[in-house]
């Protein structure tokens, strides 16, 4: 079922992984769809029926330009009104750590979607650990590029944190993928991966 990854017209490894996780002709909701590139790729390559939610006006303009259906809304309340199982996949890529109520949003995302794809920067990446250990300062890395006073991130988490969370909430992990320097890795991800991407279900 999986598309050969090299055929996809994008450099972004997280997009390539997500395109791999989604089945063709699915209904997809992207929470924080940004400029709409991911949904555009999904629509083009997998004939998905997609809907995006985005808070930034300029990004919404770009999404509309790409032909994406996009709603102005904030993610902490954007799922209201969608019925249960409205989507085959809900995508929460690089947004989890910016949510005010991540637990509630994940729960609601798994109500409106059968499956949830979550991608987030790994706070336990070894360079972050070293910075924290040796300098005693909040780490700043390529996947966590913000100084504390300008960071949109409210809830930093690690790959192990997320796995433990899924166990606690009894969410099943269907697939887990890890990225370092734009390449997929599998060895000791909590230490060596900058990004984790999980496919989970109720």
């Amino acid at each position: 079922m999986e598309l050969p990854i090299q055929e996809l017209q994008t450099e972004r490894i997280d997009y390539r992984i997500i395109l791999n996780l989604v089945e063709p002709k699915s209904r997809v909701l992207d929470m924080g769809c940004g400029d709409g590139e991911l949904l555009y790729l999904l629509n083009q390559n997998l004939a998905t029926r997609s809907q995006g939610i985005e808070i930034d006006h300029d990004q919404i303009m770009q999404s509309v330009e790409r032909g994406i259906n996009v709603l102005l809304g904030d993610l902490d309340s954007g799922l209201t009104d969608f019925k249960d199982n409205s989507f085959d996949y809900v995508i929460l890529n690089n947004a989890l750590q910016e949510l005010r109520y991540p637990d509630d949003v994940i729960k609601d995302a798994l109500r409106v979607g059968r499956r949830l794809i979550v991608g987030f920067p790994n706070f336990a990446y070894y360079k972050a650990r070293l910075q924290f250990f040796f300098s005693g300062r909040t780490p700043v890395t390529p996947s966590l590029p913000f100084a504390w006073y300008e960071s949109p991130n409210l809830h930093l988490l690690t790959i192990e944190d997320f796995k433990e969370y899924c166990r606690k909430r009894k969410y099943r992990i269907l697939s887990e993928r890890f990225v370092r320097n734009q390449k997929e890795i599998s060895f000791r991800p909590n230490l060596l991966a900058q990004w984790g991407i999980f496919l989970i279900t109720r």
Binding site: A47, I60, E65, G67, L71, T80, F82
Partner: protein
């Protein structure tokens, strides 16, 4: 106006009309003869798949774009309709018609009643938004169009868009309701009622029978003044007029001291020259009576839709506030209708969709370009 073109660049358009008989209305009454005034811009393609219907607002008319012969000002949405514009007439066949009950060429209370040979006045039946849309459906069928590429409009135009979706859910590929609502709030009804009372309080209104004498100029003018206040925002008024005083030498008591007073009086005076007082009553009542989902949740009416929607609201619009657009969005979410929504940053209040059109045009243009691409 800044968008006037030199005469050789002006595209001239002529009004057209379409008539039919025995039109059954929502309230059970009939109109023996109906005439609908309309204009078209661009060319209908071979398979008749590129038609877009534009719906005008309360006081609008069929003249949405281009110039009538000898005119110096173009139609009311010329910023949005034309070659290379949002509703691109190089690609689309754009239609706009005057609503049933109106006074700009379509049958309304100022038309001649064939039974009496005189103007209908208050013998005109209370037409509804649903009736207006049903008459437009007859027009599109007359033009040989089975499925519209899109239906678009702001304010009361947006109400007609919603009514199209509910009355004929398979008749369009997309719809663009702008700065509108599925039903009027008490505040919106209240403002309309002030307008109606102003007209009816004018002795010249004479129970609607003024066609052989003087028109109720002052009543209609006050109604328009109230309307104009609701179409603007506090900010746009402050920017346009401030507290600047007029410089004329008028010394009568309660003359227009402030520029804003002079402006409103001007708008009122201008309006009475082109608008029928009875049409004002009928159309504003049709808006107040409008509830596109008959008290039910709008989503129940949306399950059958094949169209995708672009819903637009404006930040400073306090007459049709964003929450009313969000009700429409909410119905789409429940019913699984693909929808785009944005509340555009704009200063001009409800009038933004007519005057502050840059972002709106960009969104509409891109949305229309992609309507065909995604199979839903």
């Amino acid at each position: 106006m800044g968008n006037e073109l030199s005469p050789q660049e002006k595209i001239v358009v002529s009004p057209q009309s379409f008539s039919f008989e025995n039109f059954a209305l929502e309230n059970g009454e009939y109109l023996a003869e109906v005439k609908i005034a309309y204009e078209t811009y661009g060319k209908l393609n071979g398979d008749r798949s590129n038609a877009i219907l534009i719906e005008h607002a309360f006081s609008g008319d069929a003249h949405a774009a281009f110039y009538h012969e000898g005119e110096t000002r173009p139609g009311w949405w010329d910023k949005m309709i034309g070659p290379g514009k949002a509703f691109d007439t190089n690609r689309f066949f754009v239609i706009c018609s005057n609503v049933l009950g109106g006074c700009a060429g379509s049958t309304g209370p100022s038309s001649i009643n064939p039974e009496t040979g005189k103007q209908y006045a208050l013998d005109f039946p209370q037409v509804t938004i649903k009736d207006m849309v049903a008459a437009q459906k007859r027009l599109t069928e007359h033009l040989g169009i089975e499925k519209l590429y899109s239906v678009a409009g702001g304010s009361m135009g947006g109400m007609q868009v919603l009514q199209w979706l509910v009355s004929y859910p398979h008749a369009m590929k997309s719809a663009i309701p702008i700065a509108t609502t599925a039903r009027h709030s008490p505040q919106q009804i209240a403002f309309n009622e002030v307008g109606r009372q102003a007209i009816m309080a004018d002795p010249k209104w004479n129970n609607g029978n003024f066609y052989d004498s003087e028109i109720p100029r002052s009543g209609l003018s006050v109604a328009r003044m109230v309307g104009h206040i609701t179409y603007m925002s506090e900010k746009s008024m402050a920017e346009k007029f401030g507290r600047r005083q007029k410089s004329d030498q008028d010394t009568t008591k309660f003359h227009a001291d402030f520029e804003v007073e002079g402006y409103l009086r001007n708008r009122g005076d201008f309006f009475v020259r082109r608008f029928d007082a009875n049409s004002y009553l009928y159309i504003s009542k049709a808006m107040d009576l409008f509830d596109v989902s008959d008290g039910k949740h709008l989503s129940e009416k949306f399950y059958e839709l094949e169209a995708k929607l672009l819903v637009l609201a404006f930040k400073s619009d306090w007459l049709y506030p964003a929450y009313q657009s969000l009700d429409i969005v909410s119905a789409c979410k429940v019913a699984g209708v693909p929808v785009s929504y944005i509340e555009i940053e704009a200063n001009f209040g409800h009038d933004s969709f007519l005057v502050e059109t840059e972002k709106q045009a960009q969104l509409v243009r891109h949305f229309l370009t992609r309507v065909d691409e995604q199979v839903n």
